[in-house]
């Protein structure tokens, strides 16, 4: 049975066009792009074509794109490069709601002696700009603030932050993994120095990412070895996945406007119906400033893992910020940073859509969800069912 897949902020299905594009590079063209023979060396050109497509999606120059293995590597590389390039500066700024790729790297830096400021957000997940202005100082090596949050979809004011940092000549990195392909990104106008994107969030396979590094930005490699990526990221290129990534970005660019409208309509329908049909439910995050594909809804007095397992019976895929699904005993750091009450955090469910979701799939969720919530509430000592 085909899953009803509403977990696209976790990962996305590979687009059929993308898969077609990459397969020959497993079966036939298995060469190494660094080789002197034509068989391998010709792949170099394919990689450059892919680089140009990725650059085009975000308005960059091709030589400003470095291929990596994933979004996490892009984020780690950006932060590491900044602190290596400015060794005299001992302060780093991030937010409390960053992806673990940034959050835990910053904690690592803090253990190594850097001063780290984690900026707070308000109850709608909006960044505390006063705290940001206060935190920035001449000792700041880099500021890393995500473009949009993976759990709530809330979009941060990246242009505003970037302009302030540019005036003060401070390096600015943004994790745009959840944004690329969903809303327009144009680094020509966006005052960022580095920007991370990931293949598998936009219908390319897992295992490939990219870091945009603005021309003229000091850079220090994270993975050290051969001359690949002009010495900025060593290791033999993941040829097939890079080619796939290029194709996926080309498709994303083509579909960008139409897709955002479609996703927003479908998301709003799903969200609106669930709020109407399930009492004691609330949206987490700033509804005025969200990614078009994401909704994070708390169903109070019930626990998220239990909801997900009930949905799983219908082959419906979503995710939750509850403690039981996090692998730790604590619920979502994002919802906690927002000060969402525990009655609501444990019952938070995220639905994240892609272009492959249909209205019928949304209808199925709308059909089964109210009954699931009602049943689980009759089980719960807090439920009013």
């Amino acid at each position: 049975m085909k899953p009803i897949y509403f977990d696209n902020n976790a990962t996305t299905p590979i687009a059929p066009e993308v898969l077609d594009e990459m397969l020959p590079y497993f079966r036939q063209f298995y060469g190494n792009p660094s080789s002197m023979h034509t068989f391998g060396g010709q792949l170099h050109r394919k990689i450059e074509e892919a680089r140009a497509k990725i650059a085009a999606l975000i308005g960059a120059e091709p030589e400003e794109i470095i291929f990596t293995s994933c979004g996490t590597e892009s984020d780690n590389t950006a932060l590491m490069s900044a602190v290596e390039s400015y060794p005299q500066k001992r302060h780093v700024i991030a937010t409390r709601v960053e992806h673990p790729a940034v959050l835990n790297f910053c904690k690592h830096l803090s253990r190594k002696g850097w001063r780290v400021t984690f900026l707070p957000v308000d109850s709608s997940g909006r960044l505390d700009m006063d705290a940001f202005l206060k935190a920035v100082d001449d000792d700041t090596a880099i500021v890393s603030i995500m473009y949009a949050n993976n759990e709530t979809g809330v979009i941060f004011p990246i242009p505003e932050i970037g302009n302030i940092l540019r005036e003060r000549n401070i390096l600015f990195h943004t994790d745009a993994v959840q944004v690329a392909g969903k809303i327009p990104v144009n680094v020509k106008e966006l005052p960022v120095d580095m920007l991370s994107i990931s293949g598998h969030k936009l219908h390319a396979p897992k295992g490939v990412g990219a870091l945009y590094v603005r021309k003229g930005t000091r850079f220090y490699p994270y993975i050290i070895g051969g001359h690949q990526e002009r010495g900025r990221r060593a290791g033999t290129e993941n040829v097939a996945s890079i080619i796939a990534f290029g194709k996926a970005c080309e498709l994303a660019k083509e579909h960008l406007d139409k897709e955002a409208d479609y996703l927003k309509k479908l998301r709003d329908k799903l969200e609106g119906a669930l709020l109407k049909l399930c009492p004691d439910a609330q949206i987490n995050g700033d509804v005025k400033n969200r990614l078009p594909n994401t909704t994070n809804i708390s169903f109070k007095y019930v626990e998220g893992e239990a909801i997900l397992l009930r949905l799983d019976e219908y082959n419906i895929c979503a995710s939750s910020g509850s403690a039981c699904t996090s692998g730790s005993l604590e619920p979502s750091h994002v919802l906690r940073a927002m000060g969402i009450p525990y009655t609501a955090i444990h019952g938070s469910i995220r639905f994240s859509l892609s272009r492959y979701n249909t209205e019928a799939e949304a209808d199925k969720v709308i059909e089964v969800m109210p009954e699931i919530i009602k049943e689980l509430r009759t089980l719960s000592p807090y439920g009013k069912g």
């Binding site: 904690k107 397992l309 039981c324 699904t325």
Partner: protein, 276 residues
């Protein structure tokens, strides 16, 4: 994703004995919504035979918490109170065909609810846990519970204690205390500490405090994203600064207290730790 057994999933999807007995003879409530799971157990008890005639539950929690609650009610129905008190968390886990190790605390919660209910029936008033007796403040776990669960389930590591009781799974500041409890239970040899009760010179005392902070305290805080900096030592006053995740940790006060206890124990009982 957790690897639940088919049996557990079936019980989760079709739990038995859901709800609340009207005019129950006994009520047992454990957990809280803050911790992420809570169980309310109600029992009907035959006063002649002390036998549990009926048991119902309401549970807020994940699939394994719901399944554990259902299993508990099935196991204890028909048992006398004495028989029921012999039911262990292992029995509940076995009934479910096993639990993922990270979820063992769900079975412990089931057993606790039953004990609370029977205590309620017998009119034993269990006072609310006093704050100072708690080892883990985040999940409100007492030393007594840690000791009991550790012995009953032969747990020897902090990770196992966390899996079974949640203690240590929040801010992590109680991990050194849990280690001490485990050492005490299993008589694990304590690492050799320098003989300290002799009168120390000021220089020796400073060196010892630095050594303990570096080797004993810092690595534990760092393991949880926290850190500490020694600012000054003035007589018996040790001035420290909490760094990194400790700064934002609501348990910061507890951490400072734990550090003071450690230094009192190992250096001088007059040590006072202050944050600078």
């Amino acid at each position: 994703m957790w690897e639940y057994t088919k049996k557990l999933k079936d019980i989760f999807l079709h739990p038995k004995n859901v709800g609340e007995i009207e005019n129950p003879d006994a009520v047992g409530e454990v957990g809280s919504i803050i911790c992420g799971d809570a169980l309310r157990l109600t029992l009907k008890i035959d006063k002649e035979t002390n036998r549990i005639i009926d048991a119902k539950f309401q549970t807020f929690g994940c699939a394994s918490a719901i399944a554990s609650s259902s299993a508990l009610t099935e196991i204890i129905k028909g048992k006398t109170l004495d028989e029921a008190l012999e039911v262990t968390n292992q029995d509940i886990a076995e009934y479910l065909g096993g639990l993922p190790k990270e979820k063992m605390h769900c079975s412990v919660m089931g057993r606790e609810a039953m004990e609370a209910a029977i205590a309620d029936y017998k009119g034993e008033i269990t006072p609310p846990e006093e704050k100072e007796k708690l080892v883990c403040q985040c999940f409100e776990v007492t030393e007594e519970k840690i000791r009991r669960v550790a012995i009953e389930n032969h747990l020897t590591t902090v990770e196992e204690i966390t899996n079974y009781t949640k203690a240590g799974g929040g801010c992590g500041s109680c991990i050194p205390r849990i280690e001490e409890i485990l050492k005490d239970i299993w008589h694990i040899k304590m690492p050799e500490m320098p003989a300290v009760k002799k009168k120390l010179t000021n220089l020796q005392k400073i060196a010892l405090i630095q050594d303990i902070i570096e080797k004993e305290i810092r690595p534990r805080l760092q393991a949880d994203g926290g850190d500490i900096e020694l600012i000054d030592i003035d007589g018996n006053t040790v001035v420290i600064a909490l760094r990194a995740m400790c700064v934002e940790c609501p348990m910061g006060g507890v951490t400072v207290n734990n550090i003071q206890e450690k230094l009192k124990e190992l250096v001088d009982e007059n040590i006072i730790v202050e944050t600078g």
